[in-house]
């Protein structure tokens, strides 16, 4: 029981990170119908920017009060990563709008390689460590087995990740559902031509979608950095594939679906590692995706809409 609860906590933490990245995939797919394969690398860039800003603040400028430092890191990382996301869209995808469907997809893969290599060359190929910053936690429960005592820990770091994700998800859902910007985004998603006929600047709305996705990926990048303490130029690939899987599992185009898919992938991975073997955790995650898609081709929460013509 204790072991199960511990795995549950770990799975939710990992799933939150996947969920944050998955939102970027799902929103971009919703609005322009393309898979932004470079999104995982935007997450990686978010982690690098976080690390750079963190080191700048603590080692160079000598700030010591951690909560303030982390808040500044978070904001700066979101801003700069957004700028990256915006630039990628502007340079690589917008010129191809209206071209055949595969063109932006191929460009996205190219962009992913460009970003990885750019970071590899400028930052070096070695892993970048960051010593654990947030230590300690609370004991949720305790139990004893033949093997000894098991303590279920919820670390402060895990709490921060889960709470931040919850807050951001709520804010985001409200933004999409209630504000005029969110409405414009949904309008572009459903009928871009009509949105333009109502005075919506479609290009700007699409850019903002990329900016939002990148901002959330930056948060995920910072969380990843703090949780694992090591990053390199390649972390975006697997995290990106996982988050994309999460988006598809939840129903691509659906915001709550992305979050749910993220949590599920995180849980599957952690439980599989905990109860079976670590080596096959990715196989487990992808197999479940395959099985779900056989029975629910549009994902768990994605609903094919019947439209009246």
């Amino acid at each position: 029981m204790e072991y199960f609860v511990q795995q549950l906590i770990n799975g939710l933490t990992l799933g939150s990170i996947y969920g944050l990245i998955a939102i970027g995939y799902t929103m971009v797919y919703g609005i322009i119908g393309m898979i932004n394969f470079a999104h995982g690398d935007i997450f990686m860039i978010g982690a690098f920017i976080s690390l750079a800003v963190f080191l700048l603040l603590t080692s160079v400028l000598g700030f010591a009060f951690l909560p303030v430092v982390l808040l500044i890191v978070l904001i700066v990382a979101m801003l700069f990563t957004s700028a990256w996301g915006w630039t990628v869209e502007r340079l690589a995808y917008r010129p191809l709008r209206g071209s055949f469907r595969l063109a932006p997809l191929i460009t996205a893969i190219g962009m992913s390689i460009v970003l990885q290599n750019f970071v590899q060359i400028t930052q070096g190929a070695r892993v970048k460590p960051l010593p654990p910053q947030i230590r300690g936690g609370i004991t949720v429960m305790q139990g004893s087995t033949e093997a000894g005592t098991i303590v279920v820990q919820l670390s402060y770091m895990q709490m921060i990740i889960i709470v931040t994700t919850l807050v951001l998800m709520t804010a985001f859902t409200l933004l999409i559902a209630r504000t005029s910007l969110g409405r414009a985004q949904r309008a572009c998603e459903q009928d871009r031509k009509m949105a333009a006929l109502l005075g919506v600047n479609v290009d700007r709305t699409i850019s903002l979608t990329f900016v939002m996705g990148a901002a959330l990926a930056a948060v995920a990048g910072l969380m990843f950095l703090l949780l694992y303490g090591v990053i390199d130029f390649y972390i975006g690939f697997l995290a990106g594939v996982k988050a994309f899987t999460a988006a598809v599992l939840g129903g691509i185009g659906s915001l709550p679906g992305a979050m749910l898919g993220g949590l599920l992938i995180g849980l599957i991975e952690v439980f599989w590692s905990g109860y079976f073997t670590v080596e096959y955790k990715d196989v487990a995650a992808f197999s479940i995706l395959a099985i779900v898609l056989i029975f629910l081709p549009s994902g768990l929460l994605g609903k094919p809409e019947v439209e009246k013509v």
Partner: protein, 244 residues
């Protein structure tokens, strides 16, 4: 005084292509302030293409479109709409996964939010059916209700020029009558300028002050609504058998 004599919309020698296929072969027309002007023509004549070309999507390959003294030929669609043009397009194009309310809010995107309540009240009076369905999704409305919503949505933008593309398409004659009556009221009471494209020539010509006939991307005839209704060619091609 010069401004008053100038038409609100003038289309001069506009040619539009889809790829290499020509859709509009040099169209000239004018719509003055306070007028209802209609364009009739068969399926595929280029009527909807003209509507969309006025709104900047697609862009004409040659010719010029002036609105209220401004050359809008090369402007992006959303900027053209900001000048006070609204369109209820072919196929209605309701946002299916948004509520009726949200569709109307989209229509009011360019308007000062302070006007929203008043404007909402006004379109609810024009189309009481919509009021009952404010929180229903657009995709679940019937065809007639969607048509009403498309017109209401366009009106929420407080346009000076209203473009209506086949508002009667697929609707029951009674609803067509009601919609045309609404257009006439808006024109008479509020001085709204309307450019209406129709296959339903009889009703459209009766409603309009002036009309144009489009055949194969060309304007072949023009005149007052009453004149065109009397013309033998018009009767033969668009009225006999097509009359409700």
């Amino acid at each position: 005084m010069r401004a008053a004599a100038e038409p609100l919309l003038s289309v001069r020698g506009v040619e539009t292509y889809y790829g290499n296929i020509i859709a509009l072969r040099g169209v000239d027309l004018e719509v003055s302030r306070g007028e209802i002007v209609t364009m009739i023509g068969a399926n595929g004549a280029g009527k909807s293409t003209l509507m969309m070309t006025i709104c900047g999507d697609p862009k004409p390959r040659s010719g010029q479109i002036l609105y209220d003294g401004t050359d809008i030929t090369a402007m992006p669609t959303h900027e053209i709409m900001q000048l006070g043009i609204a369109q209820s397009p072919e196929g209605r194009r309701i946002f299916p996964r948004m509520t009726v309310m949200e569709n109307l809010q989209m229509g009011a995107s360019l308007v000062d939010p302070n006007h929203f309540e008043d404007d909402l009240k006004r379109v609810s009076e024009l189309f009481p059916r919509l009021k009952e369905r404010l929180h229903q999704r657009g995709g679940t409305l019937s065809g007639g209700e969607q048509q009403m919503l498309a017109i209401a949505r366009a009106l929420m933008g407080r346009p000076k020029l209203l473009l209506l593309d086949e508002p009667s398409l697929g609707l029951a004659p009674l609803i067509v009558k009601q919609i045309f009556e609404t257009i006439r009221e808006l024109n008479e009471n509020e001085g709204l300028t309307v450019f209406l494209v129709e296959q339903n020539a009889f009703h459209a010509l009766k409603l309009a002050h002036r009309g144009y006939v489009m055949v194969n991307g060309n304007i072949t005839m023009s005149g007052t609504g009453a004149e065109l209704l009397k013309r033998e060619e018009v009767r033969a091609a668009y009225l006999e058998g097509g009359r409700h």
